[in-house]
């Protein structure tokens, strides 16, 4: 909370204590308070321990609608992404699943003429609420894109460090040793450390496609996000690289909430705890993955997962 002038992340606070504080705070303060706290960064020294004890946060979509100009791509979706779960979003091309995910870290509005309505709650905070710092939202909610896209001017090390360097207001905050530890930790978490530890100063673009994508995951992990959004992260990768990413997703969910958009239903079946089926901008059905694929309640879901369309 920022009220006492000591910024601290809610993730550091005991859940009960957090609930108490949220109860005490008036609604106007609650909304955006966590985000405001995140803008101040975290106290130095918290870096070491935080990642290991880090937990994901819940994301709730409430009446989310997203537009490109006058075209409505997401037409009112209510959907919960549980903390420390992998939730897959499946659906045919153009159904709005990518747009929906891009609304969660407010990347949707980066497209010219795009806007969103409704609420997206990160834990308790509406990230579309007044006074919310977009930059802090994106720091808390990382994103991995379809094509691996390491920054071409940067080395492997710099790529992983980029999130910390780009978002922290002062350079001095990240002492060299602490930064190095952070980068190593992120690369280890992404399962890439053993492959690149001897060539951290080489360009990130020199890695293979699968390694580049894990580098991008390491890059987003380095800023300790609460949620990671993955927009078809394996669609540009071969099956072996895909397998590695999927194993990684399984390990990462212990510390972050993961939302993964995928075209590949087998992939959803392999990695996701729950799967949501989206059609024409609307949520058709969400349920435990096995149930959605074997005994869907909606006939359209059944037709889609059995390959009758899409």
């Amino acid at each position: 909370m920022t009220a006492d002038g000591h910024p601290s992340r809610i993730a550091d606070v005991e859940p009960d204590e957090l609930a108490d504080k949220l109860e005490q705070a008036p609604a106007s303060v609650r909304s955006g308070s966590r985000i405001a706290a995140a803008t101040h960064g975290q106290p130095a020294g918290a870096n070491e321990t935080e990642l290991s004890t880090h937990k994901g946060l819940t994301v709730r979509l409430q009446g989310l609608r997203a537009f490109y100009g006058s075209t409505e791509a997401v037409k009112g979706v209510d959907l919960d992404f549980n903390a420390n779960e992998v939730t897959a979003i499946i659906g045919p091309s153009g159904c709005g699943k990518s747009t929906m995910v891009r609304c969660i870290n407010r990347m949707h509005e980066e497209v010219a003429g795009a806007r969103a309505e409704g609420r997206v709650l990160l834990d308790e905070t509406d990230i579309y609420g007044g006074g919310v710092d977009v930059v802090a939202v994106r720091r808390a909610i990382g994103m991995v894109f379809q094509k691996p896209n390491p920054f071409p001017t940067m080395s492997i090390f710099e790529n992983v460090a980029s999130g910390l360097r780009l978002s922290s207001p002062s350079r001095g905050r990240h002492a060299k040793a602490a930064l190095h530890a952070k980068v190593e930790q992120a690369l280890r978490s992404a399962g890439l450390w053993d492959e690149v530890s001897d060539r951290l100063s080489e360009p990130g673009a020199g890695l293979s496609g699968g390694q580049q994508q894990r580098l991008c995951i390491a890059r987003s992990l380095a800023v300790d996000p609460d949620v990671i959004l993955m927009d078809e992260p394996c669609s540009a990768l071969d099956p072996i690289a895909t397998l590695k990413i999927e194993e990684l997703i399984g390990r990462l969910k212990a510390r972050v909430t993961i939302v993964i958009v995928t075209h590949n239903m087998q992939q959803a079946a392999r990695v996701a705890d729950r799967t949501a089926f989206v059609l024409d901008g609307r949520l058709v059905e969400i349920g435990p993955t096995l149930q959605l694929f074997t005994t869907p309640t909606d006939s359209r879901t059944e037709e889609y997962v059995t390959g009758k369309f899409g």
Partner: protein, 297 residues
Amino acid sequence: MSAQAQPVQPGRFRLSASRRRRDRFARTAILAATLVALLPLALIIYYLLHKGLSAWSSSFFTTDPTGNTFFKSSSIGGIKSAILGTIEIVALAAAISIPVGVGVAVWLVEYGRHSRLASLVRFFIDVLTGVPSIVFGLFIYIVLIVGTGTTYAGYKGSLALALLMLPIVTRSAEVILQLVPTTLRESALALGAPRWRVVSRIVLPTAFSGLVTGVLLAIARAAGETAPLLFTAGATLKTNTDLGGFTNSLPLQIYYDVTQPTTAVVNRAWGAALTLVIMIGALNLIARLVARRSRLA
């Protein structure tokens, strides 16, 4: 399955005589057009080297064109002041137009994007690109010389050239910045980077070599311009390192020399022209080498 396959009819793939004739005609015509286009270029290079090299001497680059033109050709002097003047004037013009031009391009690509103001700015940049170079000179002449009641100065020539370079720099920078993949910007934004940091730490470094190429080409273009300098920079024979005073330049030196009756002085124009072409050629070459190192497709 294979029993039913039709045999290929004889002659089915034969090239007809008329097709062959038309093909040969078209190829010849295209080759001829290419040669016609190359001819003036070859002649220019031939005359430049032939006449220019004979004007070059050891003192050509180290003396000012202050000698007496009515006596021996060896005493008319070289083009030192013109070379230095061109470098000074163009350097100042670049120092003005590069930050402004790249700044406008960054605004157009990263901030203005599809807004109405951005379209308006693009429109004016396009108009500016099509303005004849002498108009920039005229503008500076009216505003800074007639308007202030002062006289020619090197920096006024620089301003005219800066106006000329501005749309070139802006346009090329805009094209290059648009080549930077959107996903790079989005990745940086998604990491929680403020937009100005995304621009300064990701977009500009990624586009750097492309920006340098565009800037060098704009400089090369400006270095060869005569018209904007004619009635802004003035011309002087002596070397002048102060851009507040009359400043000589290679295009003006050539312009004045070719109108002189003395053969040796006209030949000096050729020597100066060869020097100018080599300087501009070097800039173009560097621009190409830099472009090769580009990280953009």
